[in-house]
């Protein structure tokens, strides 16, 4: 019997090693280990043996079975690994062929800048307030301490509407509306569209975007504004960018100032963009004029506040080196695509 089993193993080994596909192996397995296999019939014969011979006989069969199972498992592994190798080697791929892109579009550069500004100020604890584009003389001029004969009220500067109203010339109107409605403390930015009767040219557009900041509370000073401005400049344009304010005049702020940042192109040494001054003008600023508070019923002895305004087009043009403001309103896909990567 031992000899018979040894032959069986030898034969089975040959069959197993000849297998190259999983199916072949299954067939071989059925042949040697299945119900009709030699091993099974030998096992069935065990009953006819005397009881004392059975254990030795049984363990011999089991050893053979185990041996065959191991061989099959081993071959199974070989077949699998061969298949893996084959799939790796199948063919050389031309990896210089283009990959598949998503078909994502992109934001308008002005939106990119606006979102960036929103993010900076939201992070500094400001709220975003919006107001109507179409407003009235009170909110655009009167409440902001602008005299009736002030030149900015001219038709040549401001668009007026049939049936009353005007297109706001700055988003300071929103500040007025917020102060009308809410008592201090107030800490807002008001981004939005503004309108001035300027002919479109490289640095003007009748429609443009502004962000204004207003902070009103007890103990707010010009120092707070300088601080905020320098924080904004460094977050928006980079740590090395410094800022300064210069005396100026606006009807609604006293003292008033204009804000400059060090030139983001040349770093302050002087270039074409900064007109060789080393500084770029960012916008107007100042402490809210006590008259404005008086008009809006806020006690100017208790509260002080600062405000400043920034032009979004100007920031976008500086940041992206866009030479002409009109490009921003042409909506040419060849321009828009350039900002596809500016995710905000």
């Amino acid at each position: 019997m031992e000899e018979e089993l040894q032959q069986l193993i030898e034969q089975a080994e040959k069959d197993i090693f000849a297998c190259s596909r999983p199916n072949d192996l299954l067939n071989v397995k059925a042949k040697y280990l299945g119900k009709k296999s030699l091993l099974s019939s030998l096992y069935a014969q065990m009953r006819e043996l005397p009881a004392e011979e059975r254990p030795a006989y049984g363990s011999l069969i089991n050893e053979t079975r185990k041996r065959l199972e191991d061989l099959i498992e081993e071959q199974n592994r070989v077949i699998k690994e061969n298949t893996w190798k084959k799939s790796e080697l199948k063919s050389a791929i031309d990896l210089t062929m283009p990959g598949i892109f998503s078909s994502r579009g992109g934001l308008h550069p002005l939106t990119v800048i606006r979102r960036e500004i929103d993010e900076v100020f939201l992070g500094l604890g400001f709220e975003i307030a919006e107001g109507p584009d179409i407003d009235d003389d009170f909110h655009n001029f009167d409440a902001l301490n602008t005299p009736l004969d002030h030149p900015s009220r001219n038709l040549a500067d401001t668009f007026y509407l049939e049936g009353g109203g005007l297109l706001r010339t700055h988003t300071s109107t929103v500040q007025v509306r917020v102060m009308e409605k809410y008592p201090p403390p107030i800490k807002i930015i008001s981004p939005g569209r503004c309108y001035r009767n300027d002919k479109p040219d490289p640095s003007h557009s009748p429609v443009f975007h502004q962000v204004e900041a207003l902070v009103v509370d007890k103990g707010i000073s010009l120092a707070d504004m300088k601080d905020m401005l320098s924080q904004f400049a460094s977050i928006m344009f980079g740590k090395n960018v410094s800022s300064r304010i210069r005396p100026h005049f606006f009807p609604f702020t006293e003292p008033s100032a204009e804000m400059d940042i060090s030139c983001v192109v040349c770093g302050g040494t002087g270039c074409r963009v900064c007109k060789y001054s080393g500084w770029l003008e960012m916008g107007g600023a100042g402490m809210v004029d006590p008259n404005v508070f008086d008009i809006l019923g806020i006690d100017s002895e208790v509260y002080t506040g600062y405000a400043f305004g920034l032009g979004i087009e100007r920031i976008a043009m500086l940041k992206y080196n866009i030479p002409d403001m009109r490009i921003l309103y042409e909506n040419d896909l060849r321009m828009l695509r350039q900002f596809k990567g500016e995710l905000r």
Binding site: M97, P98, I100, F101, S102, S103, R104, G105, G106, L107, H108, L110, T111, R115, G125, F126, E127, I128, A129, E130, P132, D133, I134, D135, D136, L155, F159, Y160, L161, E162, G163, G164, G165, L167, V178, K181, Y182, P183, P184, P185, I186, K187, I188, R193, Y195, N197, K199, P206, V207, D217, L328, Y329, E330, N331, D332, L333, R334, L336, R337, K340
Partner: protein
């Protein structure tokens, strides 16, 4: 740490109820982790004497007891007026005083009834502490002292009702690890006096030479103070009930009077104590005959067996309390078994010491032994408290064990620390905490905490060495009885206090500021007014989500002027009288094509499209998010819209994955997907109202009467008006629009809510059938879903086919059903049955033909 209200009330009057006290503790900075109310027991639970206890035959543990309940009126007394009670407790024996609960008594976890046990009547129950709800001890019935009279109610015996607070003591406050510490904090918080225990120590009767001791402190850096008091003729016995119940309620088990006293004082003062058997202390070899206590580091590999019978091999870094030869205790952690108090003990040494917290912590960590004692010592107990605890324990030992105190007190205290003096500026308090507090209030809080007020003075930075250097004109003014002080330049009004040594956590001015703020209450700290919250964050977010979604689908954002020309709307097919033509006109426009405020975003997008087509672009997707302007009252209504225009291929061209022309379902998908992101579902679909889209290839989505969005194909006629020849272009032009204001308002209250993840797998089944063209898909889906809403979790269109082999007027539809039961795995039979019912229902409703 467990604190019983009844015990706490010995040190401070408590008027508050449990909830109020919990709140007060929590806001004093002592976190209450749990509150356990022990309720009062019925009057039918009281002390009683077991007259006899015979084993009940055939059982191995039950005893038939006759119990004397004295004069208590109970009708069922038997055998000479005694009550028969069956008891299974191992410690039940005749002559014992215990607590009985008569039938009818309602105990915390059971009601006692008259019962028959093994055929013997039992009238009531002898109780364990657990059964009365006063502790977890269930090892046997309560054993009261034999002097206890019969008939004392359990309420009286155990001071019930009572409340147990489980407190979490922060690691910086070791002074709170005892009742007195807690009471002291409460006394400062509640402005009520602290009642310290009265300590009278009897005269020392035992002469020094009767009990000599050699005390050697070899490690004063690890053991700054070691007090040993000696007692002769100690009588070990059970503790009195007041002592036992105090320990029980704080979670400790009474052992004998001596051990109980050390535990009691530990809980009271927060300072652990230890007792050695004097007669088991071996003398030093060089000083035979004098029992010794040597405080030293362990020797390397020095063995010790502790009280609990565990053996440890010390490594040499540990501090031990040894006798002349071998260690008697691992210092501050656990005593050794050789010198432990035993039944034969007559003479003892009481140890009260202060140990270096780091050393205790290292040893406790290294050998993984944590005890009530190590817990306290590793938090830095003060050397002065050791003396207080020793005094208190001395008094109790004399009182309760009838011991004679030895006249010598050994006290190794080589470097008594100087008391710390700290200054606190009320102005600094206001600066840090945010409001001002009067001198008197500050002083009152701090004095109640045990800080000793020295004087007012000028602020001095740094360590104060001499009280004299604090002198300033405020000192003088204080002496004159002034409460308002003159402010001079260079003078900062400051209080000076001597810090009690047990407040090891008070080291700087800021620590004292915290104490004052905590006791005055954090609720008193004013909230600074925040800037007005005026931003419409929801609106901001929805607009961003919508734009970003379209960008992700391939759109580029445009920005157009807010003004436009009226002619464009006529070109789109609007007619006079349409609301879109009610435009606001500029008085001074720059040109006629910028003469009105726009009422729609579509015309300019069409211009943008034409502009880009003219520059050779073929695949274009543009959007604009912007306002439109309408007259309302005197000014305007300026709602936001998001509009998109698109033509060409559905995606970027690629050599492998081919792009295909945009279809109406691609466009519809944009609208539906965005709306579904915003949870706007089950909307009504209606015909569009704009004149420039194909009637058949367009639809609008409404919520009630508000239009939320529409999509559709631009008519060739409208395109032509904008100089776009669609025939030449060979592309359809599609338009989508979202009415942002309506969407923003409709989504204000909608929130994404987590749904439980299904625990059972789903099964998918596809069904294919022929159905008449005019029957809409959405109706078919509805019919299917109605068959069994619990199981059919999803239906999707898998395929639609017109053509060969399909009869005219019909289409072949394949739908994929996702089936799932929330309760169990679906069987094949159940799935088959369900699919059969779906088919049956579809046949009946829509006359489908199965394929």
């Amino acid at each position: 740490m467990k604190i019983a209200l009844s015990w706490l009330a010995k040190y401070i009057e408590i008027e508050e109820n449990t909830n109020e006290l919990e709140e007060i503790l929590t806001f004093t900075g002592i976190e209450v982790e749990a509150v356990e109310n022990i309720s009062a027991l019925p009057e039918t639970v009281f002390s009683a004497k077991i007259i006899s206890a015979e084993a009940v035959t055939e059982t191995d543990h039950l005893k038939r007891c006759l119990v004397d309940i004295g004069n208590f009126p109970y009708s069922e007394k038997k055998e000479n007026g005694y009550l028969q009670v069956i008891c299974g407790a191992p410690n039940c024996r005749s002559g014992m005083m215990s607590v009985i609960a008569l039938p009818g008594s309602i105990l915390p976890e059971m009601t006692i009834t008259k019962a028959k046990i093994k055929g013997i009547e039992s009238c009531g129950m002898l109780c364990s502490e657990k059964e009365l709800g006063i502790s977890d001890n269930h090892s046997g019935i309560i054993e009261l002292s034999s002097e206890t009279p019969i008939g004392i109610t359990a309420n009286e015996l155990y001071e019930l009702p009572d409340t147990i607070f489980e407190l979490e003591i922060t690691p910086n406050r070791p002074d709170l690890l005892g009742y007195i510490g807690i009471a002291r904090d409460l006394s400062a918080k509640l402005k009520r006096s602290l009642k310290m225990p009265e300590i009278n120590i009897p005269d020392a009767k035992c002469k020094a030479e009767t009990m000599p001791l050699e005390l050697v402190n070899k490690v004063p850096d690890l053991c700054p103070r070691y007090i040993a008091r000696l007692f002769n003729k100690v009588e070990l016995k059970d503790s009195p009930l007041w002592l036992k119940r105090a320990l029980i309620k704080s979670g400790l088990r009474p052992i004998n009077n001596l051990v109980d006293i050390t535990n009691y004082v530990m809980l009271e003062y927060g300072h652990p104590l230890h007792c050695f058997d004097y007669d088991k202390l071996t003398p030093l070899p060089e000083k035979p005959k004098i029992p010794a206590i040597v405080i030293r580091r362990a020797y390397q590999n020095e063995p010790i067996i502790t009280l609990d019978g565990k053996s440890y091999v010390l490594e040499g870094d540990e501090m031990v309390i040894a006798d002349g030869i071998k260690p008697s205790a691992i210092a501050g952690i656990m005593g050794g078994n050789i010198s432990a108090i035993s039944e034969t003990t007559k003479r003892i040494v009481l140890e009260s010491a202060a140990f270096h917290p780091g050393s205790i912590r290292r040893t406790s960590y290294k050998h993984k032994i944590s005890t009530d004692s190590s817990y306290r010592f590793e938090r830095h107990l003060c050397a002065y408290s050791a003396a207080d605890a020793a005094k208190r324990a001395t008094q109790l030992i004399c009182e309760l064990t009838n011991a004679e105190l030895c006249e010598v007190t050994y006290d190794s205290f080589p470097f008594p620390p100087k008391p710390l003096i700290l200054g606190i500026r009320p102005s600094r308090y206001a600066q840090v905490i945010g409001y001002e507090l009067e001198d008197e209030k500050i002083k009152d809080y701090l004095e109640r905490l045990g800080l000793k007020f020295l004087q007012y003075g000028n602020w001095k930075q740094g360590k104060i060495n001499n009280i004299a250097e604090l002198y300033c004109h405020h000192t003088e003014e204080m002496k004159q009885g002034k409460t308002e002080f003159t402010e001079l330049a260079n003078c900062e009004h400051t209080h000076y206090y001597e810090i009690p040594p047990y407040r090891v956590d008070l080291e700087r001015e800021i620590d004292i500021i915290e104490e004052i703020a905590r006791l005055d209450g954090y609720h008193k700290i004013p909230v600074k007014t925040l800037p007005q919250r005026i931003m419409d964050r929801h609106s901001y977010r929805i607009k961003k989500i919508a734009v970003d979604y379209l960008i992700s689908r391939g759109f580029y954002e445009t920005l157009n002027y807010s003004f436009s020309e009226p002619n464009l709307l006529y070109k789109l097919g609007y007619k006079d009288g349409d609301r879109e033509l009610e435009m606001i006109t500029l008085k001074n426009p720059q040109s006629s094509n910028q003469s009105v405020m726009r009422t729609s975003l579509i015309p300019q997008l069409l211009q943008n499209l034409a502009y880009n087509l003219n520059r050779g672009e073929k695949n274009i997707k543009l959007l604009e998010l912007g306002k439109t302007y309408h007259r309302q009252d005197v000014l305007s209504y300026e709602p936001y819209f998001l509009a998109g225009i698109l033509t060409g291929l559905n995606k970027e061209e690629h050599w492998q994955e081919k792009a295909s022309p945009l279809t109406i379902f691609w466009v519809k998908g944009i609208v539906e997907e965005l709306l579904s992101f915003l949870h706007l579902e089950n909307l009504s679909v209606q015909d569009i109202k704009v004149p420039f889209l194909s009637r058949t290839e367009s639809a609008a989505y409404y919520l009630a009467d508000k239009e939320l969005a529409y999509y559709g194909k631009l008519t060739a006629a409208a395109a032509e008006k904008f100089d776009i020849d669609t025939i030449e272009l060979k592309q359809d032009i599609w338009i989508v629009q979202f009415a942002m204001e309506n969407i923003i308002n409709a989504t204000r209250t909608l929130k994404t809510q987590f749904q439980e993840i299904p625990r059972f797998p789903f099964v998918t089944r596809d069904i294919s059938f022929l159905i008449a063209d005019e029957i809409p898909y959405c109706e078919i889906v509805k019919t299917i879903a109605e068959t069994d809403r619990n199981i059919i979790s999803d239906v999707t269109a898998f395929d639609e086919y017109h053509g060969k082999q399909i009869p005219e007027g019909k289409r072949s539809l394949t739908l994929r059903l996702k089936l799932r039961d929330k309760e169990k795995t679906l069987t094949d039979e159940r799935v088959d049955y369900l699919i059969d019912s779906v088919i049956k229902k579809l046949r009946e409703t829509w006359q489908i033909i199965m394929r």
